[in-house]
């Protein structure tokens, strides 16, 4: 089987997965106890039976199940997520904005933590059993087992409350609502100070895992024959480590980057709560408070989509990078 067939297979598989996620979404929200029409009415405080009934008719709740399902799938794929009960705005518009915020929050620390984690893990593996190894493994495990929100709280307490270096919440100061900043650099800098603490949190929670993973896979590779060969050739230890060992140990790491993306996204949801950061996670909470189902469905779908796409990319990378892989 060639690379093309492999990719085609993955594409088909991914599409099936997306359909499955949409179906699960449909089922979960169909089982929710409250009737959306009644909810909307109660939020507007005009609970009249006739109005609710006509709304149900208008929204097509009285249609047979399969019609509703097909309509649901089509709407989800075309990005018509409906209108938020709370703000009455189209959900699709807001999703884009929140997703962007969340990605800004997630991606930079993810990249930095991969780099730092891999370097630390590699060095630790090389110095196996020495104090550096012990220290990095122990501290990685310790940080890994701390709850995300607690790390975030501690950062807020130390750097925001006590030292007052960084703001503790939101993405920009309150007064920007009235007079937005004119100086681009100042605006950028202020946004940056608001991002540093959440970034640090996400960096800390994911870095430990990378150290452990990199260390394990480098340890596996370091005993291989080609490493001994490289040493025998008289290459510098650093060259051996990073050029020969790490290169071969990178495979599981690269695939794991995509897979842990979902994990980091989950961490971001909790982190956003601490810092009142207007991303997807914070929005989920706002939506749950008022049972805003269109918003919840959209968030759910978008996050699942992100994870699916990340997994798809991981599969592709795996196929391209690893020459030994048997496609299929």
């Amino acid at each position: 089987m060639g690379l093309k067939t492999y990719i085609l297979k993955r594409v088909i598989y991914t599409i099936i997965l997306i359909f499955a996620v949409i179906s699960v979404n449909f089922i979960i929200f169909m089982m929710m106890p409250q009737d959306p029409a009644e909810l909307l009415m109660s939020s507007k405080r005009i609970g009249v039976g006739d109005v609710i009934e006509s709304l149900r008719e208008q929204w097509g709740f009285n249609d047979p199940l399969h019609v509703r399902y097909i309509r649901y799938v089509v709407n989800m794929i075309t990005g018509r997520f409906g209108y938020s009960y709370r703000t009455q705005k189209p959900v699709a518009l807001e999703v884009g904005e929140r997703l962007q915020n969340t990605l800004i929050l997630v991606i930079p620390p993810e990249i930095v933590s991969v780099i730092v984690g891999v370097v630390l893990g590699t060095v630790a593996a090389q110095k196996r059993g020495k104090w550096f190894d012990n220290l990095s493994v122990t501290s990685s495990l310790a940080i890994y087992s701390l709850p995300v929100f607690w790390i975030a709280m501690m950062l807020v307490i130390i750097f925001s409350f006590n030292l007052q270096w960084f703001p503790s919440s939101h993405t920009y100061p309150d007064f920007w609502l009235l007079n937005p900043p004119t100086d681009i650099f100042e605006a950028f800098g202020t946004r940056l100070t608001h991002l540093i603490l959440p970034w640090t949190t996400l960096f800390l929670i994911s870095c430990g895992a990378w150290v452990l993973l990199a260390r394990a896979s480098v340890l596996e590779a370091i005993t291989e024959d080609y490493v001994i060969t490289a040493r025998a050739k008289g290459l510098k230890e650093r060259t051996v480590l990073f050029r020969h060992t790490l290169r071969n140990a990178m495979l599981p790491i690269i695939t794991d980057i995509a897979i842990t993306f979902g994990f980091t996204l989950s961490g971001a949801i909790v982190t956003e709560q601490v810092f009142v950061y207007p991303g997807l996670g914070w929005w989920i909470w706002k939506a749950i408070e008022v049972s805003d189902y269109p918003v919840l469905q959209a968030i759910f779908f978008v996050i699942a989509l992100c994870v699916i796409i990340a997994n798809f990319i991981a599969d592709l990378m795996y196929g391209i990078i690893d020459p030994r892989i048997k496609y299929g």
Partner: protein
């Protein structure tokens, strides 16, 4: 391992280790003032004014007669021997704790000439050891009068600085008959209750009325808390009897520190909450690890050994569960169903088995081709026999490791869900403690409240992860070779 044993001991011994309730907000009298510091705070910061609670009366409920000996009892005129202090073991203030009370008994024979006004004084002089004021004081008493002659009896409750004009007096109108039930001062003698002001003498000005606790206990000195009973005996030539039962004779002066970790904003002991949190975390972690491992094992074995279409369906379903983001799913489901420990165990069991099922399936696939399985099949072993006798024992090492490593997942899941506010109101967990911290404005400053739950979660997770690693090293032959 040591950490785990410690936590298990703490979890089992929670009710012994701490007598207080972790969640109840209505405890009378409250155990401590809200947002108290831990008592060891004074050793860390000797410069700060840290005071502990002072309980003026040793055994306020009169559970045993010994307590009475510690109180001072005198009468005026002193020579009066018609008034006695007694201990009654079988009666008590029903809303207090159990039977046992003290009784002031007035008994005069008909033939004595010795009558007139008699005062009996039951009191306790105690030392307030701090040179700065407490946060609050709270005095309680309950009494019941048996007065067949309908003699006029007056009862005062007095709190005063010894040898000073500074005093508060709760004065009752005269009792001229037997009381039907126990009487308690209303409003209570409580510096935090504004109606209590009516007991305060107004010679000390507005500050006295504003801050009774601070004005009363200004300095380290001897103070007196007591009950004064005045019998107006105007029945010459008759035999006179009256009994006044006194129970729950209680005075607590609230300092600004309490217990090992202080108190939260509802006057609850933080250390107690921490201990009870251990119970929840361990139960939840272990139970959901067991359930999810069993589900994962069953599905993994079935898919791996039976194979074919069955395998395809199960594994695609597993893939689906793997990509569905579990964080928002937990949030939505917990918010919709009622949040409780059992709901969460159910959710984690139903959703958390996927990774393990894949592991088991891979192992089962490779085991299926091994010679010993082929041999077993050749001898005529059925599917069930082969799975349970030959495959299962060979994946047990995976089971033990996964059991250990999936406990932390459950514990941290519980923690952040509670921290988001999705907790069972009847249980106190570590996550809920942190939720409470965030809900209180000064909570984030109280590091003795913030740090312990977080460290406990980390320590218990770390213990299980390390246990998993150790098991892996012992049980996994590959790792053993490499060493």
């Amino acid at each position: 391992m040591a950490i785990m044993i410690l936590f298990v001991v703490i979890a089992l011994g929670a009710p012994i280790l701490s007598p207080y309730s972790p969640t109840s907000t209505i405890v009378t009298p409250k155990i401590a003032y809200k947002l108290s510091k831990p008592i060891w705070y004074k050793y860390l910061f000797p410069g700060e004014n840290i005071s502990e609670n002072v309980d003026a009366i040793p055994d306020p409920h009169f559970d045993t007669g010994i307590a009475i000996g510690e109180l001072k009892f005198d009468t005026t005129p002193i020579s009066q021997d018609s008034v006695q202090l007694e201990f009654i073991s079988n009666i008590g203030y029903p809303e207090g704790s159990g039977p046992g009370c003290s009784a002031i008994v007035f008994k005069r024979e008909a033939d004595t000439t010795n009558y007139g006004e008699v005062k009996a004084n039951l009191s306790k002089v105690f030392n307030y050891p701090y040179s700065f004021p407490p946060r609050q004081f709270l005095g309680l008493v309950a009494f019941s009068i048996d007065n067949p002659q309908n003699m006029s009896i007056r009862i005062n409750l007095v709190l005063e600085k010894v040898g000073s004009e500074r005093r508060i007096v709760w004065t009752n109108e005269k009792f001229i008959s037997t009381t039907a039930k126990w009487i308690v001062p209303d409003p209570p003698v409580d510096s935090a209750v504004s109606r209590t002001k009516k007991y305060l003498s107004d010679t000390f000005g507005p500050e006295w009325l504003e801050k009774p606790a601070a004005t009363m206990f200004q300095e380290s000195a001897d103070y007196k808390y007591g009950v004064e009973v005045t019998f107006n005996d105007t029945y010459p030539g008759e035999k006179v009897e009256a009994t006044i039962l006194i129970d729950d004779f209680f005075l607590r002066i609230y300092g600004n520190s309490f217990g090992l970790l202080g108190t939260d904003h509802y006057n609850r002991d933080i250390f107690t909450q921490l201990i009870y949190g251990t119970q929840i975390s361990l139960t939840l972690g272990i139970l959901s690890a067991i359930f999810s491992t069993i589900i994962g094992l069953t599905i993994g074995l079935a898919a791996g050994y039976i194979g074919g279409f069955f395998d395809q369906v199960l594994m695609r379903f597993t893939d689906l569960l793997l990509v569905i983001p579990d964080t928002p799913l937990y949030i939505i489901l917990m918010a919709t169903l009622s949040p409780s420990m059992w709901t969460l165990i159910l959710l984690i069991s139903v959703l958390g088995w996927t990774g393990f099922a894949r592991l088991v399936r891979a192992q089962a696939l490779s085991l299926k081709e091994r010679p010993f399985v082929e041999a077993a099949k050749a001898v005529g072993g059925g599917k069930i026999h082969v799975i349970f006798r030959h495959i299962l024992p060979n994946v047990m090492n995976l089971v033990y490791v996964t059991l250990a490593t999936s406990v932390p997942y459950a514990i941290t899941s519980e923690a952040w869900l509670s921290w988001l506010g999705l907790y069972d109101p009847n249980t106190m967990t570590w996550g809920r403690m942190l939720y409470d911290v965030q809900g209180e404005a000064s909570g984030m400053w109280m590091w003795w409240w913030v740090i312990p739950p977080g460290l406990c979660i980390a320590a218990i997770s770390l213990a299980f992860i390390l246990l998993g690693y150790a098991l892996d090293e012992v049980l996994n032959p590959k790792l053993r070779e490499r060493r």
